[in-house]
Symmetry: C2
Subunit: 163 residues, 2 copies
């Protein structure tokens, strides 16, 4: 067995943290009925369905940001990203969000599997080549870490709900 | 300027994510009065002071786990880790928690600054040498990532509170 290099070990740890958190979200959201998803996490706060749609939209945006292809579900932006919860009257159903969530995370997983360490250290799509030359930490790996933290942040909120 | 190696770039990204989240927590908790810290994040849920003490205890535990020295504040375990909120009658004051929080995070920061990539890839203290030989992903770097996510998770909860 070839010895894993230090850079591969570090990357593998970060990918594992991403996968663990996606699996936690799967387990949590898949276990909820449409009625439960329609409830607020606390009085007057976001509904669970909003958190799930929001996470799906943010993960979908990672595709172009990481150079893994175009958005799959830009229609999620208005209800779950640009507008607050309970502003848009007709949200996509939980079946639709589940399908989109799985599709987006699957495409990310396939893309991640093909990225080398050097690919992860390339600039992400929202930074100019000029800025990236001065700020090389604005790379794809930073997006992976920050989106893993973003997912944890909202998972922490989702578990607040009354069971 | 020496070119940064790939492994140094990856590590630097993860350390930056840790620091960013500690700073977010500083900003949030330092801005609250003792009265605000005594409020629940939502009806019947944990109080903010409990979240802060819990995070301090978990960060304190990182010191021995990462080989950075003994615990500084094991007295936080009972009120904030082993017992649920509102079980222990007399919690440490918010001034004490703030002091402990700063002390623990400062010691972690100093220790992190001295760790090489190879140090981060060493086994953490809760895994045996035998298990680590089979499961090399159970390293200190995995602790850094998981505790960053843990911090995000509870920050997401802390912002739920009514302002």
């Amino acid at each position: 067995m070839a010895k894993t290099s230090n850079e591969e070990s570090l990357l593998s740890g970060a990918l594992s943290a991403w996968t663990t958190n996606v699996e936690r979200a799967d387990k949590l959201f898949f276990s909820l009925t449409p009625e439960q998803l329609g409830k607020e996490i606390a009085p007057g706060k976001n509904r669970l369905i909003y958190l799930w749609g929001h996470l799906t939209a943010v993960h979908d945006l990672m595709l172009p940001l990481l150079g893994l292809g175009p958005r799959l579900h830009a229609e999620l932006d208005e209800p779950f990203l640009t507008k607050a919860d309970k502003v848009v009257a007709n949200l996509p159903s939980s079946e639709v969000i589940k399908k989109d969530w799985n599709e987006v995370n699957g495409k990310l997983r396939d893309g991640f599997a093909k990225f080398s360490v050097a690919d992860w250290l390339q600039k992400h799509a929202s930074v100019s080549a000029e800025d990236f030359a001065k700020e090389p930490h604005r790379n794809r790996f930073a997006i992976l870490l920050s989106r893993t933290n973003h997912l944890s942040y909202h998972l922490g909120q989702a578990v607040i709900r009354d069971k």
